[in-house]
Structure formats: structure tokens, C-alpha cells
């Protein structure tokens, strides 16, 4: 299979800001004294708690699950005692039901945690089941339950798996380090996902700004059948699902559709490694790699973090602050969410914590749209952000919808390039929410 091109139309070259962490090996963090495990850290229905306050739990023990169709169970990342079950403030200022566990420092592993054996002996359904039971969700940020994605709806079929190692968000280097340090697991994960979806061909997409990751992955795939590493042009948002599929397969996911509509399934490379890890050890998803970075930190790092660890603990892992942080962002600077407190726990979808100082944080007043067309020129979805946002600001949501508001992937490219500092993606996001709400009412 020949890959069509190395990039897509639109997008923008944003500064990478990856220097401070890309050469830092993934470091395990000290065991946190307390973890707060959200019962709703994935796209879909929340979990019900399976434990009660006062219960002793072990590492890898399932502590929350649900019968709902779209859900992913959660597990205890530590051994210790459940001290609280109730709403807790999460990333983005929302309260979610959560289980607070005090660690006993022993890290006793639950006896349910056992290796699953070799890939050859497991059926497609076995694999999907184990991925669900391990609570694996998309680790790229969307946190969509992985098992759900692997089952095509009736009448549809997958033919290609894309492992997303592009990591186009500035500052973030977690995926890059994973590929450099655990390339074999990434390939094993790809093989598991190929078997689980029944595809014969897989691509591992990596931006060409990460030559060491490309080299490591190329070495690791040399023995694997049907898997190919594809270096892509470093451009934002290269890692966007629809853009990746277009670049690699030349197929456009239809408006309002899903990758499966064009036979593709896209999975983050961190997710693939998590899948491999579970198969090998039986341990469910209880930790992930998080890039904790930014000028205010003494030692920006890539950390292997237990799910439920508080952001304030991660700051300590990075040696604390050397300058006053003005902004805390969960995720990258293009799509991440600003926080007002450090007292929030890491969830499965958190790929980075970014601190910006006052000099890097400007709150410029937006000026009038000068119709420069840069948002049009750079929109990877070929939308007209200036018009959609103007309609949204004027409350004309039908017009915003007619101009394709719902196709917006919220990558933020339009706002990034806008010379008048207009809040384009912000008002489009608002329009999307309003349009969806109105359609529900009908």
C-alpha cells in the first residue's frame, strides 16, 4: 500500500516547544498518599462504585463499572483504604463522582490480575473483552472506550488500523517517549488491535520531527507483518483522526460520520501500549504517561503517573516551581483546558499538564475581523470559521449549522492564526453545543 501524501490541506506550523521534555526518559513517580479515581473518565456513561467507604482495595482491583453500552470500568491504582465516595472537582471545573483511596504503601496486587497468555490463543472476542475489562480508553485525550471502537456497527467493516503517534500538540512528548522506550509494546499493541478488528494492514503515523521515535518504531515493526511506519509532515493538527485517515488512505470520513464509515480505526500509540501491557501482565489501565511541562517548572518531565494522582503531586515530582505559573492547562496549548486549581486528579485522558507563566499568557482583547481569510486558508476541515463564529455570536445558530459548525473538530487553528485575536473556535464550540441541544429538543 502506497501512502497518498505526507500531509493534509490546511493546518498550521505551530512552534513545537518540545525541547524541554523530549529527551527526558519516562520517570516513575513516587506512590501518592491519596488517589482520587473518577468514576466517569471516559466518553459515555459513568460507572457505579463497586466498593464502599472503609473497604480495603488492592492494585488492579475493579472499583467501578456499569452495565451501560458505552462505558469503561475503573480500577484501583494503589492498595489501601477507600476513604470517600462522592463528587470531586475534576479537570475543567466539573464535579464527577469519584472514589478517594488512601494508599497503604504496600502495593499488593489483586488476585484477579493475571497474564492473559499469548495473542495466538485468544480470539477476537477475547481481545475485545479483555480490553473492556482493563478499562482501556483512548489515551490521546478523547478517552473514548477502546473496546467500543473495535466493534464495527452491522454492515460495516474495518480494513485498516492507524496507530496515531503523531502527537501534534506543542509541548507534549509522552507518545514520543513511549515510542522511543517501548516500541516493541507499541507493535504488540498494534498486532492485538489488528486481530481485534480483523484488519490485515496497519500504519503507525509519526511526525517527521521525531526521528528517534520513527527509527525505534521502524526497528520494532521489521518483524511484524502488515505494519508500516509512516513519517508525516510535522504540522498541526496532523494527529486529528479525520486528517490522518485522509493523509494515509486518501479517504474522507463523511460529515457527521465515523472512521468506520471509511473502513478505518484510529488508536493512539499510548493506547496500543496499554493494550499490550494488559495482555502481558493482566494489569488493567491504572497508570499512564503524562508530560508535565512549562517554563514555571524546575524540571519538566515525562512521568508514569497512577490514575487519580493530583496535579499538585506532579508539580512536586517536577521539583516545584521556579517561576509563578499564570495558567495551568490539562492537555496541550492548542486544545487543552485551563484549570483554576491544582487540586484535580489525573484521569485516563490526560496526556499533559502544561504551566505557562505570565509572559506566555496574554489576554489580548479581540479586534474586529479584518476578513484576512487566514482562518479559511488554514482550517483543516475547509470551513469558514469567520462566518460560523459571527453567526454564533449573533445567535443565528441555524446559519452556523448551515456553514458546517458541527464539522468543526475544535483544533483551534483558526483562533491561533487570527491576527485580530478573535475567539473563533470558542464561539464555534458554543454554536455546536447549542445546535446539538436544539436538535435534541425536537
Amino acid at each position: 500500500m502506497i501512502v497518498r501524501s505526507r500531509t493534509f490541506k490546511g493546518g498550521v506550523h505551530v512552534p513545537h516547544f518540545k525541547e524541554s521534555t523530549e529527551s527526558r526518559p519516562i520517570k516513575s513517580t513516587r506512590l501518592p498518599s491519596t488517589v482520587v479515581v473518577s468514576l466517569h473518565q471516559h466518553t459515555g456513561a459513568p460507572c457505579e462504585p463497586l466498593v464502599r467507604v472503609g473497604d480495603q482495595v488492592k492494585v488492579g482491583q475493579k472499583i467501578g463499572d456499569s452495565q451501560a453500552a458505552l462505558t469503561a470500568p475503573v480500577h484501583s491504582p494503589v492498595s489501601g483504604k477507600v476513604v470517600k465516595i462522592g463528587p470531586y472537582l475534576m479537570s475543567g471545573g466539573v464535579e464527577r463522582p469519584a472514589i478517594t483511596i488512601e494508599s497503604d504503601g504496600l502495593q499488593e496486587v489483586a488476585d484477579t490480575v493475571r497474564p492473559y497468555g499469548s495473542l495466538e490463543n485468544l480470539t477476537r472476542q477475547d481481545l475485545i473483552n479483555l480490553i473492556r475489562e482493563a478499562g482501556i480508553v483512548g489515551l490521546g485525550g478523547a478517552a473514548f472506550p477502546t473496546y467500543f471502537k473495535l466493534t464495527p456497527p452491522p454492515g460495516k467493516k474495518f480494513d485498516t488500523l492507524i496507530i496515531n503517534g503523531s502527537e501534534c500538540e506543542p509541548y507534549l512528548t509522552a507518545d514520543q517517549r513511549i515510542m522511543m522506550e517501548r516500541p516493541e509494546d507499541a507493535v504488540l499493541g498494534a498486532r492485538i488491535l489488528m486481530k481485534a478488528t480483523g484488519v490485515k494492514q496497519a500504519f503507525i503515523a509519526i511526525e517527521d520531527s521525531k526521528p528517534e521515535a520513527i527509527a525505534a518504531m521502524e526497528k520494532a515493526v521489521s518483524k511484524a507483518k502488515g505494519i508500516q511506519v509512516v513519517p508525516l509532515m510535522a504540522k498541526y493538527p496532523q494527529g486529528a483522526e479525520k486528517q490522518l485517515i485522509k493523509v494515509l488512505l486518501g479517504r474522507e470520513v463523511p460529515s457527521g460520520g465515523l472512521p468506520v464509515d471509511v473502513g478505518a480505526v484510529v488508536s493512539n500509540v499510548g493506547t496500543a501500549v496499554a493494550v499490550a501491557n494488559t495482555l502481558k501482565t493482566g494489569m488493567p489501565l491504572i497508570e499512564r504517561v503524562v508530560t508535565v511541562t512549562g517554563r514555571p517548572l524546575k524540571e519538566p518531565s515525562n512521568l508514569l503517573v497512577k490514575i487519580g494522582t493530583k496535579v499538585s503531586d506532579l508539580v512536586n515530582e517536577c521539583g516545584g516551581f521556579v517561576r509563578e505559573p499564570a495558567k495551568v492547562i490539562v492537555g496541550g496549548p492548542m486544545m487543552g483546558i485551563a484549570q483554576f486549581t491544582l487540586d484535580i486528579p489525573v484521569t485516563k485522558g490526560v496526556s499533559g499538564i502544561l504551566f505557562l507563566d505570565a509572559d506566555e499568557t496574554s489576554l489580548e482583547e479581540p479586534g474586529p475581523c479584518v476578513r484576512c481569510g487566514k482562518c479559511v486558508e488554514n482550517c483543516p476541515m475547509r470551513l469558514l470559521p469567520l462566518f460560523i463564529s459571527q453567526y454564533a455570536d449573533a445567535g443565528r445558530f441555524d446559519d452556523a449549522a448551515a456553514y458546517g459548525a458541527l464539522d468543526c473538530i475544535e483544533c483551534g487553528t483558526c483562533s491561533f492564526v487570527c491576527p485580530s485575536r478573535r475567539h473563533l473556535v470558542q464561539s464555534i464550540r458554543l454554536a455546536k453545543a447549542e445546535i446539538v441541544a436544539r436538535r435534541r429538543k425536537k
Binding site: I337, A338, P368, V370, G373, V376, P380, G404, F416, P419
Partner: protein
């Protein structure tokens, strides 16, 4: 460090350093070669016209905004760009008070009555120029050849007041050779005569990514093709008159031109067709100014009907 002191705002949290003021400043830089060429060929009065145009535009914008209790926005350099562009389209010997009137009209009538930057349907500089042409037609069409250059063709033309290459072509069928047209040693507006100076500035804007090739490309190409079809010399039509300045600096004006790729192509082609028609059949040799103004009027309509096919949008069969 105190808790709850973090700034919370919507993503993206980083922005491109290219602000509107940076773009406008770059446009001024891009117009410097043409300005220098104008002063070089036409002398100090040309410099006075440029200074008057820029100063009047900036001051009148500030005064109007003060009077209407709006924030003064001259810091975005857009008024300076308008004043400079206007000056570059004026005859080098135009009385300075007329220049000032043009700049006031450009800012007041061309821009501020519509609500200031971003809201003007027409290119303000061209509005200024069009009003001056209608009001003082004689002064606006009195040209002279650069002091250092004797007119190379017949003796019928006065050294001090003379026809521009386009007028000479139209009225007497005399064709100015390419080299003077390319370097700018001919009669004409201050900033329009030197093709090389304009192209230098245009290349800068293209390289900086502030303009795309679409509008100027389709504009110039259309003029070239139509010139050939009408039995004219395409190179002459590209180099003579205000086409290059208009194509690269007026027709690319953000505010008054389409934002969609297809719309920009249509805009360029429309300007080209109108320019050739006006040049060949119009009363004035004023193709570029009016073509762009007419197409400006169609911009909203063009944008409306040239929405690009969205990613993943399925074509509907009618």
C-alpha cells in the same frame, strides 16, 4: 503561590505572533520600494504627497474616532496603509490640499462611516481616489514625465505635462517600450510606474504569507489573456498603469475582497475583465480603480456562493 489565581480562558492558549498591526506594518514595508521609486522619479513634491496622505489619514481616523467616542485605533497602522496607498495612486504634482481631502474622504467615507476597520465594503484608498477624480478631474489627470527622463517618443508631448503610457496608447497609439515601464521612468501616479518596485514589495507580502497569489494571479492572467484576445500587447498592459499596484495591494485588501479560495479567483478574474473593458472601451483610462471598486461591491455575494466543499461533505445531487 496562592491558589485560585490562575488565568482561565478558552483554548488555544498560544497564538501566532502575527497580529493585524504586524500585517499592516509589513504592508507599509512592502510599499516602501514603490514609494522610494516615486520620490526618485518625481522629486520632493511626490514625497510631500506621500507624507500628506499618510498623516492626514492617520489624523482624521483619530479625530473621527475621538468624536464618535470609540477607541482610537491608529496603532493598528491600517489608516497609515490607506493614506499611503491613496498617495501612491495620485499624480506627483497634485496640490497637497487635494491630497488631504482625498485622505479625509478615504478614511471618513471609505472606512469610518461603516464602523471602522473590518466593516468597509470598499477599498478606502480607492474610494478616496475615485472621489478626487470626480471632483478635480483636471488636477487628477495632469501628469508629467520624470525630471531626469526626456520623453523618448515624438516631440508632440510637453515635458512637463504629458500623457501616461496608457493614455498615449489610447489617444495616439504610441507604445512606451518595456524597460522604462518596468523600472518606472514614465509618467503616471507616484507609486504605480515602477513595476520592479511593486513586485519587490509583493514578493515580500507573498513570502510572509500575508497575501496569496490567487487574486493578483487571476487578475493579471486575465488581463494578459484578454489583451491577447483583443489584439493588444499583454506585457504592455501588465506593466502600464496601475495594474500591478492594484492587483497586489488593492485587490488583495482583506476587508473588501472575498475570503473563499474560489471567490478570490472569481474576484481576480472579474477585476481583470473589467480592467480590460474599461481600458479599451471606457471614457477614462481608469480601469484598475473602478474594476476593483465594482468587484468589491460583489464580494459579499461572491463569498456567499463560493463556500468551499467541507471536509467529508457529500455532494448533493440537485
Amino acid at each position: 503561590m496562592s491558589v485560585n489565581q490562575f488565568i482561565v480562558s478558552s483554548s488555544p492558549h498560544i497564538r501566532s505572533p502575527i497580529s493585524t498591526a504586524v500585517i499592516m506594518r509589513d504592508v507599509i514595508f512592502a510599499l516602501l520600494p514603490a514609494s522610494f521609486a516615486g520620490v526618485y522619479f518625481f522629486g520632493t513634491h511626490a514625497l510631500a504627497v506621500i507624507v500628506t496622505g499618510v498623516a492626514t489619514a492617520v489624523i482624521s481616523e483619530a479625530i473621527i474616532e475621538k468624536l464618535t467616542h470609540r477607541p482610537v485605533t491608529v496603532g493598528d497602522f491600517s489608516a497609515a496603509v490607506t493614506g499611503l496607498l491613496l498617495a501612491l495612486t495620485l499624480p506627483p504634482d497634485l496640490p497637497l490640499w487635494i491630497v488631504a481631502v482625498g485622505a479625509i474622504v478615504a478614511i471618513g467615507l471609505g472606512k469610518q462611516v461603516f464602523g471602522g476597520l473590518g466593516h468597509n465594503p470598499f477599498n478606502p484608498a480607492l474610494i478616496g481616489r475615485a472621489v478626487l477624480l470626480a471632483s478635480w478631474p483636471v488636477a487628477m489627470t495632469t501628469w508629467r514625465w520624470p525630471i531626469t527622463e526626456a520623453p523618448w517618443f515624438g516631440q508632440d508631448f510637453d515635458v512637463l505635462t504629458s500623457a501616461t503610457p496608457l493614455a498615449a496608447m489610447k489617444l495616439s497609439g504610441v507604445k512606451t517600450p518595456y524597460l522604462p515601464l518596468f523600472f518606472g521612468s514614465v509618467a503616471g501616479s507616484i507609486g504605480e510606474t515602477s513595476a520592479v518596485a511593486i513586485l519587490l514589495g509583493a514578493a515580500f507580502l507573498l513570502l510572509r504569507g500575508h497575501i496569496t497569489w490567487r487574486i493578483p494571479g487571476f487578475y493579471i492572467l486575465t488581463v494578459a489573456i484578454l489583451s491577447i484576445l483583443f489584439g493588444q500587447d499583454p506585457v504592455f498592459h501588465i506593466l502600464a498603469g496601475g495594474l500591478l499596484l492594484g492587483a497586489f495591494f488593492m485587490a488583495t485588501d482583506y476587508v473588501s475582497t472575498p475570503v473563499t479560495p474560489l471567490g478570490q479567483a472569481i474576484f481576480g478574474i472579474g477585476c481583470g475583465v473589467l480592467t480590460v473593458l474599461i481600458r479599451l472601451y471606457g471614457g477614462y483610462p481608469e480601469g484598475v480603480c473602478y474594476s476593483i471598486l465594482i468587484m468589491d461591491a460583489a464580494t459579499a455575494l461572491i463569498d456567499r456562493f463560493t463556500r468551499p466543499r467541507r471536509f467529508g461533505e457529500v455532494k448533493h445531487s440537485a
